[in-house]
């Protein structure tokens, strides 16, 4: 029973979707990248979309409402974000693989209960909880504390990128960060766990042991929930898709998709 979805459906919002499609259609499943809070589709358009397309995967990235080029939505909830993802996924020509980064991975986890994805990839997943908040407060109290009271969450360069990324580039990226709706931010503290995924899609979890937002223990915990172990990329920051060695994780994802039978 989904009484709330019938009686109070999510209000539609204009969404930005960026894409890169291969020149030759090879029948591979489309990928839908879902950025984390504060990020927009641009974060994937920098490197990953083009790279996935060059390897034959049609690649799309959505900006959740209130992010990037999508419609402003200060009161957006996690449910509205999951709605955005399911809407875009259902609009793709074929069954999609959902790739969520950061809190976008939590959005993907919720979307999986509403859309039978062909597979899912959770990149440096932020699933919330008090442990993650504690870690964020220790590392970046000034940027994190206002978020607890409904203000913006500000992530700094050290949390997001490794030292290998040139300073100028890192500053440019941090400058582009926006903010998520406060209700969605609060959801990170006490949101009930996502319903089980429909269609039993294969799930890959990856991240970095040197991520300063998501502790390695969280990666293991999330991966265990989906019956696997995390794939780790030491030396990289939280934003694996923008960091200096961005090609390694996306190649690992595409290799996994090529091998995983259920994802074909």
């Amino acid at each position: 029973m989904r009484g709330r979805e019938w009686s109070r459906p999510v209000r539609p919002a204009r969404r930005e979707v960026l894409s890169a499609t291969p020149e030759l259609e090879e029948g591979r499943p489309p990928l839908l990248f879902v950025p984390g809070f504060g990020h927009g589709a641009w974060a994937f358009a920098e490197h990953w979309l083009g790279h996935a397309a060059s390897r034959g995967f049609p690649a799309y990235a959505v900006s959740l409402r209130g992010h990037g080029g999508s419609e402003p939505a200060p009161e957006a909830t996690l449910r509205a974000y999951a709605h955005d993802v399911v809407q875009v996924a259902a609009g793709l020509p074929r069954q999609a693989v959902l790739v969520g980064h950061g809190a976008g991975a939590l959005v993907v986890a919720h979307a999986l209960a509403r859309y039978p994805a062909r597979g899912a990839v959770l990149v440096a997943p932020v699933f919330g909880g008090w442990g993650v908040l504690g870690a964020a407060l220790r590392r970046n109290p000034a940027g994190t504390l206002p978020a607890v009271f409904g203000g913006p969450l500000r992530l700094n360069r050290g949390q997001l990128f490794s030292r290998e990324l040139p300073d100028e580039e890192a500053r440019r990226y941090v400058g582009r960060l926006g903010r998520a709706g406060r209700r969605a931010q609060w959801a990170l503290l006490g949101e009930p766990e996502a319903e089980p995924a429909v269609g039993e899609p294969p799930v890959l979890v990856l991240g970095s042991p040197d991520d300063r937002v998501v502790p390695a223990s969280t990666l293991t915990r999330v991966a265990r929930r989906y019956g696997s172990a995390p794939l780790l990329f030491p030396g990289m920051g939280h934003d694996l898709m923008l960091d200096a060695r961005w090609a390694e994780p996306i190649d690992a994802i595409l290799d996994w998709l090529e091998k995983e039978p259920a994802a074909h």
């Binding site: 029973m1 989904r2 009484g3 709330r4 979805e5 019938w6 009686s7 109070r8 459906p9 539609p12 919002a13 709605h83 399911v86 809407q87 259902a90 609009g91 793709l92 020509p93 074929r94 069954q95 509403r114 859309y115 039978p116 429909v198 269609g199 039993e200």
Partner: protein
């Protein structure tokens, strides 16, 4: 699970490995499940069975998907201006939403494009045999089924294949139910069933009598009010004509707020009557008969325009028909009217001509099977009917969960036979159960279900089956 459809379609040249009771050769399709019909319920059956690891062969008599919603199909009841009666969230498949950009009540052409997109998105077409009709379904040994097919229209040879299970999704809105009236044969005007009504041009400039106050009858009456030179609308009793919008929102969404809060029926009825007084007002003032029942006791009619056109004189409400004369129609109150066209919007009856009616516990052959959850047959655990419900909401969500339940049941038969046996026991004990509260006892309400009650029952069945 190994299935031969994993490698493509059944091979007509394959050597038959079994014989049916009368000695016909049968090609064995292993664990594959047969789905009859590629309309909304058939499509979701294919998708959900595939998702649970089963091979599927679907037989569709037409050349495209969409069933009733594909108005190129000769069995489609859809007419040019058909729109949804339930708003999007109630109508769409729960795991494949309609686009945000669509209106609250989409047009039938949008519905067809939705099904086509669903079929392409989940790659269902490769499992469908188009232009193939099922002419016989017979129980075979080991709780399996022999399904005999041939090209639509009776061309070509018959072929029988043996399946592990069958999902019947042939729809129940295509075989017209026509009432009998004295003198009907002598009537010189044009008579048609609503299933033949396609376009308002059929009514233009004519004197039209519309019979029946189902949603279709009301819609056609509204069209006749705009196109015909005169329109009468004959109903046997008074009905509640609910507006499609209340408080600026689709009325079904407002109603479901109350259902979600588990407000008791009596209170909901009182609120509904109160809302109707505020929005539609006293219907008897318009010459419409006073409803002889409370709301929720007949299938709901969602029509914002009927009362409006009655108020403008475009529709003349009249009582039941007493008899037909060659050039006139006599009404129950003694009046005579002279329509040129009579449209019977009197509904449909389900038909399963390919199946012995006794399999369904319908020994009288009336078309009313005795099922549990309107889907499962006592004594036949590998047979399910999808979409044989008349809900007070959209149908596709219900078909989706019916077929999910059937797919899980088939899986349980393999992995947890004791659970499947308990399920079969429940089917035997509870066949014929209703999920609609008190409704009028007419063939129109045979399959009436309240969507909330029904889905709760399916949810309980799923939980019982899976033991969570």
């Amino acid at each position: 699970m190994s299935t031969s459809t994993d490698h493509g379609r059944p091979d007509p040249e394959a050597t038959p490995s079994a014989q049916s009771g009368d000695g016909r050769p049968v090609s064995d399709r292993g664990d594959t499940v047969c789905v009859i019909g590629a309309g909304a319920s058939g499509l979701t059956a294919i998708k959900n069975l595939r998702e649970h690891g089963f091979g599927v062969d679907c037989y569709e008599r037409e050349t495209g998907v969409g069933g009733a919603w594909n108005w190129r199909h000769d069995r489609s009841p859809v007419y040019a201006s058909t729109h949804l009666l339930s708003s999007k969230p109630f109508t769409q498949f729960p795991d494949f939403p309609m686009p945000d950009s669509w209106p609250d009540y989409p047009h039938h052409s949008q519905l067809l494009s939705y099904f086509e997109r669903y079929a392409d998105h989940f790659d269902l077409r490769s499992h469908i045999w188009f232009g193939t009709e099922v002419i016989r379904v017979e129980p075979a040994e080991g709780e399996r089924w022999d399904v005999t097919t041939r090209s639509t229209g009776g061309y070509g040879p018959e072929r029988t294949s043996r399946y592990a299970a069958v999902v019947i999704a042939n729809g129940h809105n295509w075989s017209p139910k026509l009432p009998r009236y004295e003198g009907l044969e002598q009537f010189r005007g044009e008579i048609m069933h609503a299933s033949s009504y396609k376009d308002p041009a059929q009514l233009r400039g004519k004197r039209v009598l519309v019979v029946g106050a189902g949603n279709t009858g009301c819609d056609i009456a509204v069209e006749a009010a705009q196109q015909a030179s005169r329109c009468w609308h004959s109903t046997r009793r008074g009905y509640w004509y609910a507006p499609k919008y209340v408080l600026g929102r689709p009325a079904d969404q407002v109603n479901d707020t109350l259902l979600a809060l588990r407000v008791p029926l009596r209170v909901r009825q009182w609120l509904y009557h109160w809302t109707m007084r505020l929005t539609v007002g006293d219907l008897t003032r318009f010459g419409l008969p006073k409803p002889d029942h409370r709301v929720y006791e007949t299938h709901p009619i969602a029509n914002s325009q009927l009362v409006y056109y009655v108020g403008h004189g475009g529709i003349g409400p009249v009582p039941d028909i007493a008899r037909f004369h060659p050039y006139a129609v006599e009404l129950a109150d003694g009046r005579e009217i002279d329509p040129e066209v009579v449209i019977f919007a009197t509904g449909y009856l389900p038909r399963f001509e390919f199946l012995d009616a006794s399999v369904f516990g319908d020994s009288a052959g009336a078309g009313r099977p005795t099922l549990w959850l309107n889907a499962f047959t006592p004594g036949h655990p590998t047979l399910a009917v999808a979409g044989l419900v008349q809900p007070d909401s959209g149908l596709f969500t219900l078909s989706h969960w019916q077929t999910v339940l059937f797919a899980r049941l088939l899986r349980a038969r393999r992995d947890r036979p004791e659970r499947a046996a308990a399920f079969a026991q429940r089917v035997r004990e509870r066949a014929g159960e209703r999920y609609s509260g008190q409704v009028k006892d007419s063939s129109r309400h045979w399959f009436e279900v309240g969507h909330a009650d029904y889905l709760r029952a399916v949810q309980r069945a799923l939980v019982d089956l899976e033991g969570k």
